[in-house]
């Protein structure tokens, strides 16, 4: 644990340094930018809310990728599963009678979002389990298929009034906002925390989790010990896709309240970073999502000081720095006792 924290500290310092150099290059004072970024994010309710809003989607996608990773599957298709969730959630939400009460509308729309994501990813798992198709290839290809279908359906059926936005969902399906200065953060945050806890419980306390991790570590050993590798692959991918699909709840039910083409674009890819940064542990993923969310929201909050492209770039720098600093710290510690002796 201490090692992870040390690594995180080094990574943050390294990212600060790289970011500062870039700011100097474009001719602004790094001290001012960083100070303003922290100040505006953590003292301004709106910015704090926007950070949490961004972190919500990232955490769900991160959990999705992390869960599949535990089963030895690289779900690079969280992007497409999220898009499928958006499509299903918003279409069904709009189809519900306007008077549908929240206790019915919300579970229905959540189920649609999770179900659509799970269906797409479950298909990937099924192809892997039955035909041996590599999940990276099939899930990345499905990203394009879902994006294409989404836009096509939008053009043919969903978009209203010449815009790229569909009809609004039933008011009962809207997730309540948490206030926070009129920001977009909403009750999906609570759903996300519950999902993280559930993933942790499944992973560390149940035979499902043990089977997933056994398959992830060594499918041959798992099979030989009587675990059905195929079933695990399908289940893990489905669960992973359902989590990614749930991110649509945050975007559709908590924010846009309608179908929109490209809603949440790149969130699935950033979710991969959140999973890797969080080292596949649910708590780690949440922290990583908060960090990436801070860079997103904070970057926008200081947009008049530095171009927002700079903070976009910093997200990559942070992930790179964490990746590089973990083994660095591990090595330094391995060396230390020898020098003392």
């Amino acid at each position: 644990m201490k090692r992870e924290l040390q690594a995180a500290a080094i990574a943050v310092l390294a990212s600060l340094a790289v970011g500062s150099v870039l700011m100097l290059v474009v001719g602004v004072s790094p001290v001012r930018v960083w100070g303003t970024m922290v100040e505006r994010t953590f003292t301004d309710e709106y910015n704090l809310g926007q950070m949490l809003f961004a972190a919500t989607s990232l955490a769900l996608c991160g959990l999705a990728v992390a869960l599949a990773l535990e089963a030895g599957l690289f779900n690079i298709g969280a992007e497409g599963q999220l898009a499928a969730g958006v499509l299903a959630c918003s279409t069904l939400g709009a189809a519900l009678p306007a008077g549908t009460p929240a206790p019915i509308a919300i579970p229905v729309c959540l189920a649609a979002a999770a179900g659509a994501g799970g269906l797409v990813a479950g298909g990937v798992g099924l192809l892997k389990a039955t035909r041996g198709a590599h999940e990276v290839i099939s899930s990345i290809m499905l990203n394009f298929v879902v994006a294409g279908v989404s836009l096509w359906l939008g053009n043919e059926l969903l978009f209203v009034g010449g815009a790229t936005t569909g009809a609004p969902i039933a008011p009962g399906a809207e997730l309540p906002h948490l206030g926070l200065g009129g920001s977009s953060v909403n009750a999906a945050l609570a759903i996300t925390l519950a999902a993280a806890a559930a993933v942790w419980w499944l992973r560390d306390r149940t035979t499902w989790g043990e089977a997933w991790r056994a398959v992830g570590r060594d499918p041959a050993a798992a099979r030989s010990a009587g675990i059905s590798v195929e079933r695990v692959q399908v289940l893990a991918m489905t669960a992973s896709g359902a989590l990614a699909g749930l991110a649509a709840a945050n975007l559709v039910m908590g924010y846009k309240h309608a179908f929109e083409d490209g809603l949440g674009r790149n969130t699935g890819f950033l979710g991969i970073s959140a999973a890797l940064l969080g080292r596949s542990h649910p708590a780690g993923v949440i922290i990583a999502a908060l960090l990436l969310g801070f860079l997103q929201a904070g970057g926008l909050a200081v947009a008049e000081l530095v171009p927002k492209e700079l903070t976009e770039m910093l997200q990559g720098v942070v992930v790179l720095a964490v990746a590089a600093s973990v083994p660095f710290v591990a090595r330094a510690r391995a060396r230390a006792p020898k020098e003392a002796a």
Binding site: T207, E210, D218, A221, S224, A225, G226, I227
Partner: protein, 525 residues
Amino acid sequence: MTRALAIEAEVTKRYGARTVLAGATLAVRRGTVHALVGENGAGKSTLVKVIAGIVRGDGGTLGLGDRVIPAGDWDRVRARAARIGIVQQHGASAGTLSVVENAVLGAEPVRAGLLALDGVAAALRAQGRAIGMDVDPHARVETLSLGAAQRAEIVAALHAGADILILDEPTAVLAPVEVEGMLAMLRDLAARGVTIVIVTHKLDEVRAVADDVTVLREGRTVATFSRRPTAAASGDPLGDRPEGFSAASGPLDPAAIARAMVGAELPQPTLLPEPPATAPAMLELADVTVGTALTRATLRVRRGEVVGVAGVDGNGQRELALAIAGLVPATGAVAIGGAAAAGTSPARRLALGLAHIPEDRHRGGLLLDATIAANLALGRRDVTGRFVVDRAAVAKHAAARIVELDIRPADPAAVVRGLSGGNQQKVVVGRELSRPRLRAVVACQPTRGVDLGAVARIHDRLRAVAVAGAGVLVISADLDELLALCHRIVVLLRGAIAGEVGGDALRAPGARAALGALMTGATAA
């Protein structure tokens, strides 16, 4: 002056906090076959890897001919230049490359920018023929059997011009007949002036081939033996021992070597009484066929019976075990505890009372990066509970297995990768043989690459489950193991059961010869 010693080494090596070699010494006379023996984890492999420059020593010196080099400065490039060849235990060939491509790696002949391999291929073929080891230079290594891949490496090492040839457990993957050929070849090479160091823990081989023997235990040299007792007295090649070096030395005597290896006498195995002929069948195979690898295997193991399957590696043993466990598609009938199991999933077969110890613990036996406790409970819903893991039960199960098999370290939270081979194998055996309501056991190479102490523990467990009422099938390349355990032994040859030796014939002096003949197809059963 030409020194009589080809190698004179004294090496210390640590991995983290663990000291693998604590000033282990090795003195090898030029042109002799020198056996380096010891239990698993004694440091044999590490010592030869340091000498061959594959692993860097932390301290000590290497004397090679007239030169003395600090062990920390030695590396593979210099070792190659000193004409030291090594054939490692698990091979060092790249599987996707051909034999000849592996052989030229590092010194590739090139013509007009492109590889010119034909000359080397022909030379390899000739070299192989000269020492009775046929190799196909253009075969991809991964398509070869383990034995053939190893032969290719030996031929390549000799082709590269090794003066000192180090072989780490070269006979582990060979059949008895092949072992004889290999040992004869080593003697022949030594007679031609090549210095041979062979790492092994099979005392038969030591007796058959070695001029001198060095015994390692826990990273130290504890004893040396020589076929020529005069050598120690006159030339004293093993003299000049560093301070505190207290290895005993004496003539080559297998019993004394075994004592030095384990530090104690080995208990004599006790044979189990044969079950009555009326005992019900616990494992029954009828016409089981797996592709072309196994054809129409028919076999019956009764309650309380231990049946051995002998054969040269690659004659269908692996497929037989996998077919019983349901891990490969097979035709024919399989019954476990009297219940038909053909076509069912591995999980279903385990539920019927099957236990399967896979051939290779590193491929399908263990989760190397998980703990001992997790591996012992892998797939064991009877221990973990159906959905929510009963952590107290898992801990209790682990503690019981650790005591039962003397797994070291005795720490359920220890990661399996860090364990010695013998202890890793004990974990697999512990998990499989502790299944409830055991009806049939398939143990595939249950003690391959395992030290003597662990072998005894594992054999005890196999006998215990037979006594408790299971039918046990032991598939092993080690005839000694089968003779010590089994009531009868069937022989697989080219995927078919070639014959059987059982009852009094198995205890008769000619049993070994009879089995050997069946294994090579010299007689019809």
